[in-house]
Symmetry: C2
Subunit: 400 residues, 2 copies
Amino acid sequence: MNSGPIEGNAVIGQSGGPTAVINASLAGVIEGLKSVGAIKQILGMHHGVRGLTQDNLVDLSNMGTAALETLCHTPSAALGSTRDKPDIEYCKRIFESCKKHDIRYFFYCGGNDSSDACRIVNEVSNEAGYELRCFHVPKTVDNDLMENDHTPGYPSAARFVAKALMADSADNASLPGIKVNIIMGRHAGFLTAASALARNDAGDGPHLIYMPEVAFDLEQFVQDVADTYDRLGRCQIAVSEGIQDKDGQSIGAMLIQGETDAHGNVQLSGSGALGDQLANVLKAKLTPSGGKPPRVRADTLGYMQRCYPDQSPVDVYEARGAGRFAAEVAAQGNVDGSVAIVRTGDNPYESGFKRIELTDVAAKTRHMPSEFLRGTNDVSDAFIEYARPLVGELPRFAKI
Amino acid sequence: MNSGPIEGNAVIGQSGGPTAVINASLAGVIEGLKSVGAIKQILGMHHGVRGLTQDNLVDLSNMGTAALETLCHTPSAALGSTRDKPDIEYCKRIFESCKKHDIRYFFYCGGNDSSDACRIVNEVSNEAGYELRCFHVPKTVDNDLMENDHTPGYPSAARFVAKALMADSADNASLPGIKVNIIMGRHAGFLTAASALARNDAGDGPHLIYMPEVAFDLEQFVQDVADTYDRLGRCQIAVSEGIQDKDGQSIGAMLIQGETDAHGNVQLSGSGALGDQLANVLKAKLTPSGGKPPRVRADTLGYMQRCYPDQSPVDVYEARGAGRFAAEVAAQGNVDGSVAIVRTGDNPYESGFKRIELTDVAAKTRHMPSEFLRGTNDVSDAFIEYARPLVGELPRFAKI
């Protein structure tokens, strides 16, 4: 293994759904690389690997301190993102572009698909005997990357969900009824679970939380809501867009007919259909015979979850640190990998980073562990302890 | 006209859709009344006039300074709200409750329906020769009350919309496509118009803004989107839930079949249906022959617009001040009315309050004046100058 930096250029890209802090990771990589002498040019891919293969690159070498600081507090992917999921042929084109531009450092910030792209590019360059230091920088509001205590992007999205459900519970208390809130997370329930952070006092919502890790039964759901509504006169519900039945079939796909994406998945984000369908089921099933339907409303929290400009301070710090750590490790020798966040202290909360192998994280999905679940429609205290330090200070509301 | 305070109790209620600052108005009324010696008890109605007629009251006389301060920063209606729209018989029951509880000051915080309830209660008490000082305290995110420069609740909702569209425009730029955002406002376009505050640089969204004040034509809409998409490769759209065609027919009602409320209106809030239907129209019309549909997503900003805990500082100040002003005027003599916000300075922004007659505001709707509109799908610079000082400081994002 070569030791120390290698002469050449670096390239950075952003991939997948943007987050409130993916630009902090971009800034972190840039500032990490700037501290290393041997890097000639720091290039950014416009719209991820698609931009790289089309020579759609931007020189980031001259970004100054103030610009980097503003970048850290800018949500969404400032370089542009892509949904492309490169196969081996695509990765060979990526590799050719790297050679053409004398790129020796390849950083790709994204979720498990992006780490898989990194893994393949790394294998292609290894087979060609070309030293390309490939690093995946973690990012996903879904919090579903293996080996990570949690992932950059999740704390800010969880903060939005907690504040939204807190305010929505107060709204629901003031005009009582049944309120369904659909929350992102196609495979993992971490973000939906964060809604539990909205609770402060007895009676606060969310009263029911449904995550993909627990088999969803439509009849049981209706019964749960009816019981809560009878007991409290209102019911605030958090539902993951990724809920599935006991056979792993998507409830969203069952209830709605929608567009499918490149991976064959039905479109759940950017549509209010799942929430509206669940509201329709509740209205139909809970209307007393000869009576009026209860007041049922549904909100789909939508893209605000991943981009609303209200970052968790922990998240900005860690996202930036993860990018800087990747750059620093890459400069130390001919090594590849991904970065994982490790929790190193609980009170006060502290965290650090470790390098992991690309194969540890690539194309794998982490789910809510069973100790984070309570029954079929709630989270445990262990989850609350896990999540609370991540989201930053939350407001406290007055009650009369 | 009697001068000075009258001995007796005061009652305060909150009505209609909650806002981020309606509790600041509640706090303002309480602190205003506390400064008047003659008030015996300050009572709160649980769930508005419905609670008053059912003796569902709470004593607020002992709320201290810290509790009032926390209340000012608590979104939603802490007393509970109601959608009841009292007729004359209902108002007679309200009046009987007032007599029963020795109430001489009646404060009702809400929109134009609530001011109409105030007006009727006032007429009933006048006819009975019972001195009841009836005050409407303005509140509505729709900003549609007559005589007001703007209404408490609007600046905070406008702040949320501006920040949301700003972040969503960055998201849309990173993963280009067509994005529809449905914004509250059944009759007035002020809140949808506030999306324009999201723009800072050339190319920033929203690129198209549709308000109820401009006749909506579905074919022209599709053409507008196609033109923008061709020009920029993306298109972010702000659409009021209240858009209507040239004959005043609701586009939402035309496109969706939904529940109607007590006033016979189709349910637009608490559902993603309008956004989803517009997205479906765009997908169907903009798919090239034999090609793939463009990426079209729809978010309905939903109840977060009226409750997300991110208040405009101007809004808190004015909402609280409007409540205090109502209490102070009511204590000065046998007078009734509503409170209107008057803009008294532009640079720096300053405002004050004036008493207006209940009949000036009751059951009337203010619309966007024509000088705030530009063409068929945008707002004017005059609107931007009007709205910008209200929403507080907005973030600036980095661009690469």
